[in-house]
């Protein structure tokens, strides 16, 4: 099953040009598009919601592609299983890779399944240089119910990292921020494929 954050290798980017409202930065580099990211949106008529990354933060384009255009699917968890970052030529240079080591050792203690997303996940999956000196480390943790004291311990352990770590908890009904959840607020934001909503975290509140 295809899920948000999965990285998809696609046949070639040329057919994307038929889509409406393709921005200029993309139309110039359409043939360079080899990997796309699955967005959090419904799959309608077999069309997968995807995002295309440009060279800068502001260059992002959301569209849909048919499953038949996908040649390979890489999940964030796979990147961890293969320990992709350890063999990266810049392993020593980017603090973000040491942060990945930290995340791995922390989450292993709690036997939580996880994976990198964002620029790190994209670079590890595609091999295209995407990480910069200022990149945050975006990760997902696959879990339906993390006790709040464990959430606090993880968030506190992540603060030891030399880069900012942004952990999302991917549940069956959507994603929450581990940092927000760990604060014990009465309501938190849940991102679902049908859009965001606020949910109560305190029973009977």
């Amino acid at each position: 099953m295809i899920q948000p954050h999965d990285l998809l290798k696609i046949k070639d980017g040329t057919h994307l040009i038929e889509k409406e409202n393709v921005p200029e930065w993309l139309s110039k580099s359409i043939s360079d598009v080899r990997f796309v990211v699955v967005r959090r949106a419904p799959i309608i008529d077999g069309e997968i919601p995807i995002g295309i990354r440009g060279k800068t933060r502001t260059e992002r384009f959301g569209t849909f592609i048919p499953l038949s255009d996908v040649t390979e699917r890489i999940t964030p968890e796979q990147l961890v299983a293969e320990q992709k970052w350890r063999s990266h030529p810049c392993y020593e240079r980017f603090g973000i890779f040491q942060a990945l080591d930290l995340v791995e050792s922390v989450l292993q203690q709690y036997q939580l399944s996880w994976g990198p997303t964002g620029s790190v996940g994209f670079e590890l999956a595609s091999g295209q240089p995407t990480i910069t000196e200022t990149s945050d480390l975006d990760i997902i943790i696959r879990a339906n119910d993390i006790p709040i004291n464990i959430a606090k311990e993880i968030v506190s352990a992540f603060k030891e990292a030399n880069v900012r770590i942004d952990p999302l908890v991917e549940r069956q009904d959507g994603a929450i921020s581990l940092i927000e959840y760990s604060k014990g607020l009465p309501s938190i934001l849940l991102r679902t494929i049908d859009g965001p909503k606020l949910i109560n975290t305190v029973p009977g509140y």
Partner: protein
């Protein structure tokens, strides 16, 4: 970094400060302080450019429905209008309830 200043007339007073949201991709952080002046004064800092009109529309609609007197700082990290609206609603919820907010 793009900064947007907006101001809307307000009549409702709030009792508490609020700090909601997350510094993280696709999210935002809101700091809300009750104000004695009859305005909602907003400062939006965002890394995304070219969406000033969208911010204006989303915030105008929200403060038409919730005319609260407050100074509000928004630090945006690429949130969608849907997330912006929910985070504002959440900030109001916190600033109006009696449960002590737990800070990290």
């Amino acid at each position: 970094m793009n900064t947007i200043h907006l101001e809307f007339p307000a009549t409702r007073r709030l009792t508490k400060r609020a700090h909601v949201g997350v510094v993280g991709s696709g999210d935002l952080e809101i700091l809300l302080e009750p104000s004695e002046e009859p305005f909602a004064k907003l400062t939006v800092r965002t890394g995304t450019t070219g969406f000033d009109q969208t911010w204006q529309n989303v915030l105008e609609r929200f403060f038409e429905e919730n005319d609260v007197a407050a100074n509000i700082k928004i630090n945006d990290f690429g949130a969608t209008p849907g997330v912006v609206k929910l985070r504002l609603a959440q900030a109001l919820e916190v600033s109006q309830n009696d449960v002590e907010q737990l800070e990290n």
